[in-house]
Point group: C2
Chain length 211, copies 2
């Protein structure tokens, strides 16, 4: 594992002793874009600390259709995972690498230990819960209080931010999955955005002009 990378992401919130513990107990891993890191129903034995990249977190309905909840980025961890660990529950969500991602997997057992020992760890855990609850509220707002055209625009903006590129490399079908709707609806709305001059449509990608 690369100490520098760990320090640059977490050095300002964890004390040196804790960083060392993480180096010893944690497993460094690189996840290629598109790989499923966690499936609904999986047992969870480790907690991810993200060093770089991004992971998208999805919720599924009884028919297997999905809804994008939010992205995890550098410095984030998955509170839903923590939450599941604690209750010895299976995962409620699916996690897929949005891009190539580096992370450290910490065994669940260490979590409780560090919660006792390190104040910075406690704060980190609380902060994470805090962030996740805010993200969930924000997701709820977007889905409930907005119509599909607005949700699509917000989705594209988020993609641009996460991927640091104005090229959104997704098919209409993929976008439709994330937004829990059908391909036809997305094609229709994208076409409208193109006619307004806000985007350019191409095969398998969308170029964002100005949203």
């Amino acid at each position: 594992m690369n100490l520098q990378e760990l320090k640059s992401s977490y050095g300002h919130i964890f004390e040196a002793a804790l960083i060392n513990e993480i180096m010893q107990s944690g497993t460094y891993k690189e996840i290629p874009e598109g790989q499923t890191m966690m499936e609904i129903g999986d047992y969870i034995k480790t907690m991810p600390l993200i060093i770089s990249g991004a992971i998208k977190i999805l919720r599924e309905d009884s028919e297997g259709d999905e809804l994008l909840l939010y992205y995890l980025e550098k410095g984030d961890t998955c509170s839903i995972t923590m939450s599941c660990c604690l209750g010895q529950q299976r995962s409620e969500i699916r996690a897929i690498a949005e891009m190539d991602t580096q992370l450290i997997l910490v065994p669940v057992g260490k979590m409780e230990e560090w919660t006792k020992t390190y104040k910075s760890w406690r704060n980190f855990v609380f902060e994470s819960y805090h962030n996740r609850i805010n993200e969930l509220l924000s997701t709820l707002d977007k889905v409930v209080f907005n119509q599909m055209d607005q949700r699509l625009i917000q989705y594209l903006k988020e993609k641009v931010r996460i991927n640091k590129s104005t090229i959104v490399k997704n098919t209409h079908q993929e976008i439709a999955y994330d937004l829990y709707t059908s391909r036809v609806v997305i094609s229709r709305l994208l076409k409208k955005l193109e006619q307004m001059g806000k985007i350019e449509l191409h095969r398998s990608y969308v170029k964002i002009i100005e949203l």
Copy 2:
């Protein structure tokens, strides 16, 4: 404050010393049905421990229209509140007493102290976050994955459970507020349920037969 009531709700999870601390630092309060306990934008200085009754938690859009998130009941606390305390944020939600409710208000300052000192408090706080995240996911599921007729049925079932009565004392307008829709839509759907023999409609209340 009534020691017996506190013990009956929290005695099995908090050690005696912590119960004593709560008795000393907490303020006992009775909230009458319908009273707003917390408004969006309020600063939060206390955390509620619910002894009896129920509190409904609402989220608001930019126009002031609401969505019911979930209910807090005996033994619950509001993690969104904890979350807000920590970040020194204003409240993201509104809380209204669903029925006459007894609770204890704990000053935020004590929270951090107890997190250090009492393992049972730490577990309680983590457990609460866990429950709240699960509730939020469940709310999201209901809203996104179901149509209004299913949501209405789930809403009525929940009301029956919370109020322990098959009489739901609400006007169509009030139900519409909670479900973020219009009165006309609710009247329409309720009428259908009545025609199916699942409920009986009356002025200002609904009698649940079988859902």
